[in-house]
């Protein structure tokens, strides 16, 4: 968004309080949604829960195409549509709710850096596993991605998306990586997160921030999604403080508020 449009939108956003009927759109939970999209959606849900803002989750098969930027999830609040965690955080901030106000400048810099780390390594690893690992692609991804569409559209869309993702991997230098190297990168990333978390309850001590929401979204999804092999979740399980962290957020923000079970089971 240009600067003028952004300022305009912030003004409008600030003018109205958070409505009761805000909705979050994602793909179909049982049959369609993939690992990376589920992680992103869960991160946004966790963030909104932490801000104490009510949100209803609606599943649509064409959520990806409805979204203004092509990425899920996106939220529909009042008469505005915002997609992806970054813009959603800014939008919510314009409405007057923010989790990172109490941080000083250096901590804000670190928070942004760690969020980029998760996006750079964990998200890319998830995409790699879903679209570039032949076993997973054949057994899980193709079938799930194309499930709402009739033949031959399901195959065409799946191949198109796979080609796109492979191009992107090549551009950022992941095209030649093997699965083992990718898993090693995931391990490095988890190690960094675990060291940063240490023994604290949240990344910036007492209060959760958007970084906690993002990390929770990705790690929880990795831990609870069944893939062709368990290597990815094994890498995360090596770090006990990360497991405790996920459990804590799940209990505090999801179970206590009666949101019910979050996990999806892939067969």
């Amino acid at each position: 968004m240009s600067l003028v449009a952004e300022a305009f939108v912030s003004q409008i956003a600030a003018a109205e309080p958070w409505p009761e009927n805000a909705t979050l759109y994602q793909q179909l939970k049982g049959e369609q949604i993939l690992l990376s999209d589920n992680a992103a959606s869960l991160a946004v849900q966790a963030f909104l829960q932490m801000c104490n803002l009510p949100i209803k989750v609606v599943c649509r098969a064409n959520a990806e195409y409805m979204s203004p930027s092509g990425k899920v999830p996106f939220i529909h609040v009042g008469n505005q549509v915002v997609s992806e965690l970054g813009p959603i955080v800014q939008f919510v901030k314009a409405k007057g709710h923010s989790l990172s106000d109490g941080l000083d400048e250096v901590q804000k810099a670190e928070m942004k850096a760690y969020m980029e780390l998760v996006n750079n390594m964990l998200l890319t690893a998830e995409l790699y596993l879903q679209w570039c690992d032949e076993a997973t692609v054949g057994e899980i991804t193709h079938a799930r991605y194309g499930s709402p569409y009739p033949w031959p559209l399901n195959h065409i869309l799946a191949y198109q998306k796979q080609w796109e993702v492979k191009r992107k991997m090549k551009a950022i230098g992941w095209g030649n990586k093997t699965l083992d190297q990718v898993l090693e990168d995931v391990d490095q990333c988890c190690q960094a997160l675990s060291q940063r978390l240490g023994t604290q309850p949240y990344f910036f001590n007492k209060q959760p921030t958007e970084l906690d929401a993002l990390v929770f979204g990705h790690l929880y999804t990795i831990l609870t999604t069944q893939l062709t092999n368990d290597e990815l979740s094994e890498k995360v399980k090596n770090y006990s403080n990360l497991l405790a962290f996920c459990r804590r957020i799940e209990q505090h923000y999801f179970e206590d508020r009666g949101k019910g079970s979050l996990s999806i089971r892939l067969s």
Partner: protein, 317 residues
Amino acid sequence: MAAPMELFCWSGGWGLPSVDLDSLAVLTYARFTGAPLKVHKITNPWRSPSGTLPALRTSHGEVISVPHKIITHLRKEKYNADYDLSARQGADTLAFMSLLEEKLLPVLIHTFWVDSKNFVEVTRKWYAEALPFPLNFFLPGRMQRQHLERLQLLCGEHRPEDEEELEKELYQEALECLTLLAQRLGSHRFFFGDAPASLDAFVFSYLVLLLQAKLPSGKLQAHLRGLPNLCAYCTHILSLYFPWDGAEVPPPRQTPAGPETEEEPYGRRNQILSVLAGLAAMAGYALLSGIVSIQRAAPARTPDTRALGMAEEDEEE
């Protein structure tokens, strides 16, 4: 003892030891750790063992060309700049490098390779002058296409509709990233205390390229100049670790008037000579092809006077 490690990288320009981001990062890391590398600064990427620059030929003859892998190899050979870092600082390194790659790299590519003014006046000019014949004709264009494609894939799919807005968004994020780096650095000499680490090598290479190259349209450069601690950080590392490379440029820069005024009288003389030569060539061609002919007026008069004289004689007789 096996053969020493050899590093092939782009040569220097604009006051820097190297003009390429990756080469600069690897060189800086090597200087930080004091790794005994034989550095070949070349301008012909086809001469390097892997076809791209930078490239490291290890002591066992293996060739590595991905910058991160080069640094990992140096670490394995016990030239580790991150040895003294705590676990938490190591985690911070990873996080900040991701931040650099996501926020600053796209804009750097855009500034040097996509922005048309910068590309024509700075980047392409340097590469066209530095590359040997006949590579200088097609290689800069090919490199630009590769970078453009990389940028398109990095930035996502909404390019066709709002390129201007995407550019503004990119620059805004980059400005934020620079401010964040400045805040993280504070008043320390390096990011993690008093000794440089691998993060410093990467941050330095990104920042110094932006700072030193004379860009005609450099909004990011202007913003960076407004962050004094980052500028001091760059000049400090440049003077400490690359003193002779940095010193190559100041003499020509300090006396810009000298060479220019010397050229002037020669320039004027050359101009006059070339104009005269042009005129002479035109006149010679005109005479030789008969467009212009010179006739002598004097012999035409004497037959008249003789004729008059004869007429007078006739009249007399």
